[in-house]
């Protein structure tokens, strides 16, 4: 009888440990997959930033009065796989959650909004991209140094860095995104009639991977 009880107890212990370990591993896998997808879509958005696109960071107060970092990609037409906004903006905001963590969200803001409608749009939950994020921090690389502030009207930075922590990941996460530099247009040259008759080159509309 004692042996039977020991066997039953060991079977129970092994099974419950297996289930617990499998659940933890699956949760970590899910978090990694979410993080990977978020980084991929954000990297693609920065790489496909049009030449007139702008980048700015502002710290605003959210609905509950908590500070909310908002990275704005301005004058964009099609990013994150979304259709054209007609020159509007896409905002990456870290919305606070009830459990103390934050959710990285994307908010689409059309260009022709008055201040009230703009604030309402920015206060909306938006499209959640990455939940359970702690301490998200954006920084911008220019002239060999990382800067924490990047107000509206600043030139486009060379790099954008996102640092954050996640519940299921022990070490902090850091991702650096490259922004294609804006090349000034070539000065107009005296073209021969045969050259001017040729079709003008158009930029490649296909997005970068």
């Amino acid at each position: 009888m004692g042996i039977l009880a020991l066997l039953a107890a060991s079977v129970y212990a092994i099974t419950s440990a297996s289930i617990g370990a499998s659940r933890t591993a699956m949760e970590q896998q899910l978090t990694l997959r979410r993080l990977d997808a978020f980084l991929r879509v954000t990297r693609s958005a920065f790489l496909n930033l049009p030449s007139q696109g702008t980048v700015s960071l502002d710290l605003a107060r959210g609905k509950g009065g908590e500070p909310e970092a908002r990275l704005t990609l301005g004058t964009v037409q099609g990013l994150f796989g979304m259709p054209s906004l007609g020159g509007g903006a896409l905002v990456l905001a870290a919305k606070p959650r009830s459990d103390g963590t934050r959710t990285m969200c994307m908010i689409r803001v059309p260009s022709s909004l008055n201040d009230r409608e703009l604030e309402a749009a920015l206060s909306s939950p938006g499209t959640p991209l990455l939940p359970k994020v702690r301490k998200p921090r954006w920084s911008f690389f220019q002239d060999g140094a990382w800067k924490e502030e990047w107000p509206k009207g600043s030139p486009r930075p060379a790099l954008v860095r996102l640092q954050l922590e996640m519940e299921e990941i022990a070490s902090p996460v850091e991702a650096i995104f490259f922004l294609p530099p804006v090349v000034p247009p070539a000065p107009p040259s005296a073209a021969t009639p045969s050259q001017s008759a040729a079709p003008s080159p158009t930029p490649d509309p296909s997005p970068r991977p």
Partner: protein
């Protein structure tokens, strides 16, 4: 006499108990091995995923701020959230269609290592 014979038939012999224990131990060992393999695979996926993400980040960084040619830039794991990164920039010679050497071509190599996983990227940069 009859009663003692009946009792002897109702229980398990020591041999039967040992056989049952051996079968049980085999099953438990198999389960533990399967669990260990699954956890190792999850850890490997995690390390590979972090390695790849770090490689992409360093690739982006090096496009804006490449290392000095011939001098490797090394980020130790302790200072770089667990991932060791080695970046090298070396001159690369290639000719264009006219057979002329392309000026300013450099090969950037980045190696990211985390635990047992290592990932490597090589791209050509034009730095005139």
């Amino acid at each position: 006499m009859m009663r003692s014979k009946q009792l002897r038939c109702a229980g398990f012999t020591l041999f039967e108990v040992l056989i049952a224990l051996a079968v049980f131990m085999l099953a438990v060992t198999g389960l533990a091995l399967a669990l260990d393999t699954a956890l190792r695979a999850a850890l490997e996926v995690r390390e590979r995923s972090f390695c790849r993400a770090e490689l992409e980040s360093r690739l982006a960084y090096c496009q804006a701020n490449p290392p000095q040619p011939g001098t490797p830039r090394i980020l130790e794991a302790a200072q770089n959230h667990g991932v060791r990164v080695e970046e090298t920039l070396a001159p690369y010679s290639a000719k264009n269609r006219s057979g002329v050497d392309v000026v300013g071509l450099q090969k950037l190599t980045i190696i990211a290592t985390l635990g047992s996983q290592s990932d490597r990227a090589e791209i050509l940069l034009n730095l005139p």
